[in-house]
């Protein structure tokens, strides 16, 4: 799955370079492990809220790459009929109520989704993904407080890639850590190596189980790395602003782990990679073959 995300995003980077994409595209390369690790413990009925940088969450949640490409290309067959685009991919039926263009905007939604799940007795949980930059939006703290007071089955996942757009987050963020801020609101809050898919899966698994058992919400800070710029094409105005990071590759990390466990990843990878490449290529071709949305659609879906 990490490979699928990697290939999906690399395909978009390539499309962008060739001028085949419109709008702003934020890629998740380097952050695959957080999405895959967290979503691995979710099941049907659970819901996730995501961000402007959400392709990896959606793929990890099991969305169809073809319909995702179609949405990002603004085609009729996209998940949102082409009305959402890269920043707003969503598939409620598949447990992804969706991405949000407003940083922090989706966080309280997860509290409400979790509240509804508990009240309706569905046994589902809600997970909110957001970034380290979102940790400075007041609504995060309002949401943490509500989640704890209401003891709802929610998991807050902060994907800390070190950057708020082009600003190193530490330069605009006070206090010891984001997890420490969260802990002050009285919920279990820990930090984990976000590039280690196994570690993320373990930590998220415990938190999701806690939520399902009615033992309340948790907070998980996943320390990870953003390999590419804030969005594709930023070179046009963003002077080199990155400190030299030597980003860890979550995929290689997994392979090392396998080796450590005496398994040989090479064969596995080559076979999976072939499969996934085919799948992504086919998905893209399918999406590109899609028609544009009919113009009438622009005037629908405002009200029920």
């Amino acid at each position: 799955m990490m490979l699928r995300i990697r290939l999906f995003e690399e395909t978009l980077a390539d499309l962008y370079k060739r001028g085949a994409l419109v709008g702003v595209v934020h890629l998740s390369i380097g952050q695959e492990a957080t999405a895959v690790g967290v979503c691995s413990s979710l099941r049907a009925g659970d819901q996730i809220t995501s961000t402007h940088r959400g392709h990896h969450h959606m793929l990890a949640r099991g969305l169809d790459p073809r319909r995702m490409f179609a949405e990002i290309l603004g085609r009729a067959g996209g998940y949102c009929g082409g009305k959402g685009g890269s920043m707003h991919v969503s598939s409620v039926a598949e447990g992804a109520v969706g991405a949000n263009g407003i940083v922090g905007g989706g966080i309280p939604h997860a509290v409400g989704l979790a509240f509804a799940a508990r009240r309706l007795g569905t046994g589902s949980v809600a997970v909110s993904f957001f970034g380290d930059g979102a940790a400075n939006q007041g609504v995060l703290f309002e949401s943490l407080n509500l989640a704890v007071v209401w003891q709802v089955p929610a998991l807050f996942v902060c994907e800390n890639n070190g950057y708020t757009e082009f600003t190193p987050t530490h330069a605009v963020t006070a206090g010891e850590s984001i997890a420490v801020r969260a802990a002050a609101f009285g919920l279990p809050a820990g930090a984990v190596d976000g590039d280690d898919v196994v570690a993320v899966a373990r930590a998220a698994g415990e938190a999701v189980e806690r939520a399902r058992d009615g033992r309340g919400p948790s907070f998980l800070e996943c320390r990870t790395h953003r390999w590419r710029g804030h969005h594709e094409g930023e070179e046009s105005y963003a002077k080199p602003y990155r400190q030299a990071v030597d980003p860890e590759d979550p995929i290689e990390r997994l392979e090392q782990a396998m080796r450590g466990a005496g398994l040989d990843p090479v064969e596995l990878r080559t076979s999976i990679e072939a499969e996934e490449r085919a799948l992504i290529a086919e998905a893209l071709a399918g999406a590109q073959a899609e028609p544009l949305p009919p113009v009438e659609r622009a005037f629908e879906d405002v009200f029920a």
Partner: protein, 328 residues
């Protein structure tokens, strides 16, 4: 839904809102209520609900408007029908992104995947020196932001039926109620009102007064007093603002050929401006005089009683404007 018996025994506006919520809560267990001090029901619309439905469905919130309105958006998407009492509607400014950019956009952005059956109820208007931050009527902000329905009942009958319609709607609905009308008397009649309805009363032939909330009351009493001067006034109570009851508005104006729009919001980009522009576009030929707008000038609401009174359209202002458009 037509019945002979009165659907609610409420005799005042705020209790009619509360009764509508209570009836919906009895009929539909998905309806939940939250906001600050809703168990006590400080503002009126939630009074008595905690006693009947308990603290699982009537929930006091911390002062986190963006958080609990956002949570209501999520709960609505998740299958509940939350009714959020925001207290004073100007507190929506603290949660404006969640209302405008989230509740009002998510259905569209997801290509219709989600419905957001959310009600946000709040008081709107000046009621005795609550000053700038607790007295304004932000209707136009919600209408321009879009994606949310808006109703503003001025009688117990309107309050009961429009709150009921709001809760049963699959769209986000803002329900405004005027603090000066909380105790306004009236009976709830069996004929329901729906989102998009207007109430035309009294009927008249010389001039149409289009108004909402407290201004609708003032318009009706001006209609009475002008009758004695031989001016026949028709009042269209625009109690639903989104959907806007254009048919009722245009029918009235095409009949009278004259219109005064009375609005307790600020004038610029107001509901009065919208109605005036809409009439000009759709019924220009029928107009015997330009549409007059009466609204709060572009100032905040002052504290001192004499200043507060000075910025609100008074019955005298309304009567004068009506005479003017009629007599030219």
């Amino acid at each position: 839904m037509i019945s002979v018996a009165a659907p609610s025994s409420a005799k005042r506006l705020a209790p009619a809102l509360a009764d509508a919520i209570a009836q919906c809560m009895r009929e539909d267990s998905r309806v939940v209520v939250w906001g600050e001090d809703v168990t006590i029901g400080v503002m009126g619309p939630t009074r008595g609900l905690a006693e009947e439905f308990g603290l699982e469905r009537v929930i006091d919130c911390p002062i986190s408007e963006a958080g609990f309105v956002g949570a209501a958006v999520g709960a609505a998407i998740g299958g509940l029908r939350p009714v959020v009492d925001i207290m004073f509607s100007s507190f929506t400014y603290v949660a404006f992104d969640q209302i405008a950019n989230q509740a009002g956009r998510l259905r569209y952005m997801t290509g219709g995947q989600v419905a957001v059956p959310l009600v946000v109820v709040g008081s709107a208007g000046a009621a005795g020196s609550n000053a700038a931050q607790h007295s304004e009527v932000p209707t136009a902000l919600f209408l321009n932001a879009g994606g949310v329905r808006v109703v503003f009942p001025s009688t117990p009958h309107q309050a009961f039926w429009l709150m009921r319609a709001a809760i049963r709607s699959d769209d986000p609905v803002i329900v405004l109620h005027h603090p000066a009308l909380a105790a306004a008397r009236g009976t709830v009649d069996p004929e329901p009102l729906a989102l998009g309805d207007a109430v035309v009363h009294p009927i008249g032939t010389d001039v149409s007064l289009l108004a909402t909330g407290l201004m609708a009351h003032r318009a009706r009493s001006v209609a009475e007093s002008l009758a004695s001067e031989g001016v026949s006034v028709e009042v269209v109570d625009v109690c639903s603002l989104n959907p806007m009851p254009w048919k009722a508005i245009l029918t009235s104006v095409e009949k009278t050929g004259r219109a005064v729009v009375v609005d307790e919001g600020r004038l610029t980009c107001s509901v009065a401006s919208e109605i005036s522009a809409g009439i000009a576009e759709r019924a220009f030929g029928a107009l015997a005089a330009p549409v007059r707008r009466l609204a709060v000038p572009d100032v905040p609401i002052p504290f001192a009683p004499n200043l507060e009174a000075a910025v609100l359209p008074s019955e005298e202002d309304i009567a004068a404007a009506a005479r003017e458009v009629v007599r030219g």
